[in-house]
Amino acid sequence: MIRYLTLVCILIYVTQAELKGQVWLDTIEIKGIKPFYGLTIQPDKQYNDSIYAHITQFLRDINGSQVQISTPGGLTTLLHRGFGNRHLPVLWQGLNIQNTLNGSYDLSLIPGFLFDNINFYSTGNPSLSGTNGLAGALTINNNTFRHTQSEIYIKSSSLQNYDAGLMYAGSKNKWHYKAGIQSGYHSNRFNYLYNLKKYNRHSTDLLQNNIVVNTGYRVRENQTLQADIWWQYADRIIPVSITSSASTKQHQKDNNFRSALSYKYYTQHSVWNASAVYSREYLHFEAPAVDSKAKTNVYFFNAGWTNINRPLYINFQHRMDVSNSNFYTQRQERNTSSVSILKPIAWSDAFQTDISFRQDITDKIFMPFSWTLSAQFKSLQWIFARNYSLPGLNDLYWPTGGNPDLKTEKAFKSEIKYTWDFKFLEVKSAIYANLVDNWIQWIPFRNDLWTPVNQKKVCSRGMELSAKTAFNITKSRIILQADYAFNRTTAIEHYYDPKLKNKQLIYVPVHKTQFSALFKKSIFDLGLEYQFTGIRYDAPDETGKLTAVHMLNFKSSLWLDSHSWQLQIFNLLQQDYYWVRFYPMPGLNAELTYKYHF
């Protein structure tokens, strides 16, 4: 018993990259176990930079998602199945890099070119992805020991946006390494109509730099060391609405540095793993009468153990967030320790189950118990999970209005997926229902003062369908795809304003659909894509709504040896549309990308 408890105390953090299939380390075969989410949970979408020119395109392609671009705060955020950006963990080396203060990370800052393993999970495994995992999960990693090509790219768009990047990958003896730099300047200039007149908009003035280094070293035949660094800098104008005066200036700087060191030790029966991650985030926001500076240091430790023969994963984590911001009256700190266990069970080749648990202790308080039960029987998969979401530090400690008595949001999630595989057609379907209680919302309690409260109980339910077929015509290939998503996300209980019950949450479309057709030859392809986003309400009482958006886009790629070109033309129908009212989006615009692999 003592030996067993001792073993439990030595915990392992398992990353998905290490447990795919079978892993050979010199002469020792390690029988691999599937990604850390278990046997049954696979990514629902994987980033591929030969398809997507940037991360926002990838996010927009996720069935059931709504990407909010050019929002009043300047962030690019994702609403997935009606849930907010702060409900989506963005995991880098296991660390959730969503901002600890307000829970939201600007997803457009993710340099897709510099990572070769970006995955989106529509439900994922909430009890392993951690607190705030209510809207799935987005993981960002590099496959350290997998060979990839080096590449250079440059990109230019008619909106006066320019990007360039270099990723160098190689290996020598026991070393594997990737180092990359990506830099961009985005002006986002376009014309728009306002009050019957034409104006030119210079939205962003964004300068963005990223440096990513990923190295792996085989210490011995059964031991590896891995080091990762990600430095990120962004300096930009935050656009104001077209109804605001052009003289209103808002400016933001982000300067983030993240580093991780991990160690793995393999035996014939198990894998031991330990890692340490440090992240320093600096955000400086300026507006008339506002000059806020937030510095947050995050320290993150993992230790874990994997039993390969009798699959079992045990994991221990500790995370410390320390924030020194000029709007807090004192330094704010949060400490969270977690224990999680995942038990995969392969009943047969056709039927597998994963069961996992997590218990957090935050600032010496036991948090709600989290669990996930998922199973797969042939093409049928179902997931049930309970999780919770911690309030951000701003919610708790904002000097006037912060509410230290705020309860955590609690969620129950369920999803059933089924895939039909016909000879020439694949159809995927999903139905889901997710419930969040104690939903946090800021409301006024005096004309000039606001406070967060646990405002309502929200239910998100819906259905997603995706059909794909491909066939050959002589030496060409045609790929057709159609996606449809239906979502209703409403407050089923509202503790402050009962009139807002059963109203669709703002910015969440009820209907969304996409059709694409791709014609592929050996060295080139041509594609057409139509996206429909239904009306979205932008007032909680459904009295204000944004019109439906019809987006027709064209794409063409050409490959010649190590060179490739991609031309994309967006908004062929020249629609005037908004994701947020009075923040116009570009009309017809084009983007050209060149890549060289070596």
Binding site: T243, S245, P288, T329, Q441, F445, A539, P540, D541
Partner: protein, 345 residues
């Protein structure tokens, strides 16, 4: 023959003449009650709700001017020279419309315009600098729709009250501003600042009583970083440009109005409407109605109270109309963030 030809041509012309796609309502808007709704900060447009007896027209500006929106944060409005002037704060302009049909006439560019006052036949508006450090009182040329004179004030110029040849201006200020507890006096004949009257922290609003005395409400400073450093509000009576009475109030009191008798004052304190009798100002404040309101006004004819509720500042707001006995008469749905009531009777 020629006459028949002309008649035929005219007839054909009427068949093909252009018709304007115009849903505007033919009506006289020179009398009525107007609710100025701010709209969502930074991502919305202000709107005007029109009320007259039992009639309500929403978004009257957009209805009468198809294809146009007011702009971000409609702050206040006033009638002058057969026109309505609407301060659109975050769009840095004053929109001018015809008072009868509410049709757009033009705009006056001015940074962060706030509130108006008519004084001796002239129209003035307060405004702020874009860095929020100073304010201005601006004289408007209502014929040419320009600012003919702009006088700088230290601190953020806010509400105004006209009495005799003077305009009294409150100054929203922080504890670091030199004029952090003053009312500024402006001579409308000489068009110059003539002095200040020192009162309480953060002067907010003004009213004139039946004796011709000025009442000044001060909010106190709210320290958003360290609430423990916030200061008290206060109310003062100003007689012959001197403070004759002062009384402390809780921090955050705002929006001062007077009834038609000019004997009772009313203001907002947290989630209460407070009444103060001008002859017994020393008595404890009396809460006459409860609710979280963004602004209040009193009808100049029937003494009904107009209480504006912005709710969560995201959905349409609500106007609650109470009679003199504080009994609810009517509830009206307004635009988003109803902020100001203007009566033109």
């Amino acid at each position: 023959m020629f006459n028949r030809f002309i008649l035929l041509s005219l007839f054909i012309a009427t068949l093909f003449s252009c018709t304007k796609d115009d849903n505007s309502i033919q009506k006289d808007y020179s009398r009525g009650t107007f609710i100025v709704n701010e709209g969502l900060f930074n991502s919305g447009t202000g709107t005007i709700t029109y009320l007259n007896d039992d009639e309500q027209i929403d978004d009257i500006f957009e209805l009468q001017n198809p294809g146009l929106v007011l702009g971000n944060i409609a702050q206040s409005m006033i009638f002058h020279d057969n026109k309505y002037f609407i301060a659109v704060n975050n769009s840095a302009k004053i929109v001018v419309v015809n008072a009868v049909d509410f049709k757009y006439i033009g705009e006056i560019p001015v940074n962060l315009p706030r509130y108006f006052v008519n004084s001796n036949g002239k129209l003035y508006v307060t405004s702020w600098s874009s860095d929020f450090t100073s304010g201005f009182i601006n004289l408007i040329d209502t014929k040419t729709l320009t600012i003919s004179k702009s006088t700088a004030i230290q601190g953020l110029a806010e509400k105004m009250l006209s009495k005799d040849n003077n305009v009294y201006i409150t100054v929203t200020a922080s504890e670091w501003d030199p004029l952090n507890h003053h009312v500024v006096v402006y001579d409308t004949q000489k068009e110059v600042l003539t002095g200040t009257i020192e009162a309480g922290d953060n002067t907010n609003d003004l009213a004139l009583d039946k004796n011709g005395d000025i009442w000044l409400l001060c909010s106190g400073f709210t320290n958003y970083t360290d609430p423990g450093l916030s200061t008290d509000g206060s109310i003062h009576k100003i007689v012959n440009n001197k403070v004759a009475f002062s009384k402390k109030l809780p921090n955050g009191c705002q929006k001062l109005v007077v009834n038609n008798n000019k004997s009772e004052l009313y203001y907002l304190n947290g989630s209460s409407v407070i009444e103060l009798n001008i002859t017994k100002p020393d008595e404890d404040s009396k809460a006459v109605y409860s609710g979280l309101f963004y602004n209040l006004a009193i009808h100049p004819v029937n003494d009904n109270f107009y209480l504006l509720n912005a709710k969560d500042f995201q959905q349409k707001g609500e106007l609650t109309i109470l009679n003199k006995d504080f009994k609810q008469v009517k509830n009206v749905t307004t635009g988003i963030i109803p902020a100001f009531v203007y009566f033109n009777n």
